[in-house]
Amino acid sequence: MNSAATPVKKRTPTDWQGAEMQKRIRKRYGAERRFKFIGLGAVLISAAFLAFLLFVMVGNGLRGFTQTELPVELDFPAMTGGASPSQFEGQNAKANLRTLGVQDIVEASIQIQYGEEGTNLFSTGGWQRVRKEILKNPDIVETKATIYLPVQSDIDVAYKGTGSDSAEAKVAELSDSLSTGFNWNFLFNSDATDPMQVGIWGALKGSLITMFITLIIAFPIGVLSALYMEEYAPKNRFTDLIEVSINNLAAVPSIIFGLLGLAVFLNIFGLPRSAALVGGLTLALMTMPVIVISGRNAVKAVPPSIREAALGIGASKMQVVFHHVLPLALPGILTGTIIGMARALGETAPLLMIGMRAFIATPPSGITEPATVLPVQIFLWSDEVNRGFVEKTSAAIIILLLFLLTMNALAIYLRNRFETRW
């Protein structure tokens, strides 16, 4: 078997210590060092871009969370003509407030304090805060109170940075009265024309509802498709075709899905325009291929020895898939789902196509009500002429980033919980 018929040519012994070898060693070390530095450089550049983004956003946006305020002295007993606190408690409170005419009271107080033109100093919806105060603490109507109301947008801009000349003049004039307070409106209001009144809550709620719909449609369909294609489908040309199609779907530009949504959901099915339901359906179409692909990879990664072991003790195919394959593939599936959802969260183009660009002044209360989502809201605000919207746009971006961060953190938590060690 090992008989050597022809003698093997002798090799010259290798000189491991010679100059040639030393040169090779040095070259190799050099190449490895260079590669390490290049890698480090790449990481640093990416980190720098990220840092730049954060810095700019936070720098611009933090101011959006604050608002400039002026104090207003309200002499309630004089203004209301002796209203009693009990009127503003319980069920009749809101009705009584309406008859009271809080807005007029406030405007009158402002005029008293700041003169005829005083109302121009304040944001138009500012009087709402007084209303809220009365509802919160009805005893206040028996006292004289000083309540801080937000100023007009121009003055706000001038106070925080540079504004128009007239606004700057006003700021100079009122500098000792002006103060800065936290802008709770921003978190709880919806879209408005006045930048001092806008809030992200409407868009945020719309995003949440849309995401929810996307999830409950895309996740089951995607996971079950992945399981079927990997475990049950026969390997023939037809299934190959389906596989290629799904892979390609994941790369399709998102605006095409918007057109699809427009044509199918709005025109053929006649669903209400701008509804969260339609948005969710469209985004689900977009997210499903991503879930299927990552789901298939996760299922493929489950070693066949586990399947054989389960089959060997008499588990049926379904039991093998649901008791063994799915739990082990779950971390991978969840990762894919989160990637898909994060992408869907930030999508603007397809949602614009299906009409979620309307002006939504109240948060949606159901899935068929008109809604908008955060990215679209950001897009709309960035289009506004009023200088006051600049910081609001950046502030909204910060909220969006926080939302994404929370989603990712939740995903990592879920993945770690379901990760079983081998």
Partner: protein
């Protein structure tokens, strides 16, 4: 004539070999029925095709309850393929086609009315690389009884788990850590866990596909001792390419070569005085 064969009294040469001295044709093999005790599985004229390629040619063999049967042969001779026919694991391979008749306790296992899932509980399998589920030791053993509905209460399940682990010789080592992960055990313990898992569903036959090839000698010896203890409770068929292991562990040995069954006989005869030249060449290390 029909003596029950006992490995320890191998000095006598019981005349249980019907075709003694005759030439064996390629297509039929000797089957030993007399002197073997009750038969658990019989196979007749089994052929296995992978697409166009024929992997097993006309094999007929009987597996008795009281015997450990070993399949030996060089790589690629089809012993694992044949083993997998016995519990229809070849069904999971789409291009595999099995012809011939295989019966378990007289029932044809390829008949339409035979439920594959139940068959695989009755004919258990232990694989080459230990493959415990990534669950706790308790859940590993309890999984089979749960899905087949073999236990009506938690106490019954506990009892099944304990007796399976005891039968597998693992109880003493794991009784106070049943909730630990099955994959945290050593290789030999994992394999015994897999054997316990197969025992838990109360099988009639246990198939072992090279169970010790991934284990060190001490773990191997423990498994061989375990096989010896299980003999007679379950019919055991073991595929091994370690001839010494086949010699140590089995009472009947079948030698496969290129998909054919070349020789099947009493283990002590095969290893001291085989009939076929191919068998002799293989076991004396002259093969190839």
């Amino acid at each position: 004539m029909t003596e029950l064969l006992d490995c320890s009294s191998s000095i006598e040469y019981p005349n249980a070999r019907p075709n003694e001295g005759s030439t064996m044709t390629e297509t039929t093999a000797t089957t030993i029925s007399a002197g073997d005790g009750p038969l658990k599985m019989t196979t007749r004229n089994v052929n296995v095709f992978y697409g166009e390629k024929q992997a097993i040619k006309d094999v007929s063999i009987d597996v008795a309850l009281d015997n450990v049967t070993a399949f030996i042969g060089p790589s690629g001779c089809g012993k694992s393929t044949f083993l997998r026919c016995l519990n229809r694991m070849n069904d999971t391979i789409p291009i595999a086609r099995v012809t011939g008749k295989i019966t378990l306790e007289g029932e044809d296992i390829y008949a339409p009315q035979m439920d594959v899932v139940q068959l695989r509980a009755r004919v258990g399998m232990v694989f080459q690389k230990p493959n415990p589920f990534p669950k706790s030791i308790y859940d590993n053993i309890a999984y089979g009884p749960r899905i087949h509905g073999l236990a009506n209460s938690k106490d019954e399940l506990d009892h099944i788990v304990e007796s399976s682990l005891q039968r597998a010789g693992l109880w003493g080592e794991v009784q106070d850590r049943l909730q630990d992960s099955g994959t945290a055990l050593s290789g030999g313990q994992q394999q015994r866990l897999c054997i316990a898992r197969a025992i838990a569903v109360d099988p009639e036959v246990i198939l072992m596909d090279e169970p010790c090839s991934a284990l060190d000698p001490i773990a191997t010896a423990k498994i061989e001792e375990l096989i010896h203890e299980l003999r007679g409770k379950y019919a055991i068929v073991i595929v091994t390419h370690n001839m010494q292991q086949a010699a140590r562990v089995s009472q009947r040995t079948a030698f496969f070569h290129l998909g054919t069954l070349v020789e099947y006989g009493v283990t002590s005869d095969i290893f001291t005085n085989p009939t076929e030249e191919k068998t002799r060449d293989y076991i004396t290390g002259r093969y190839g």
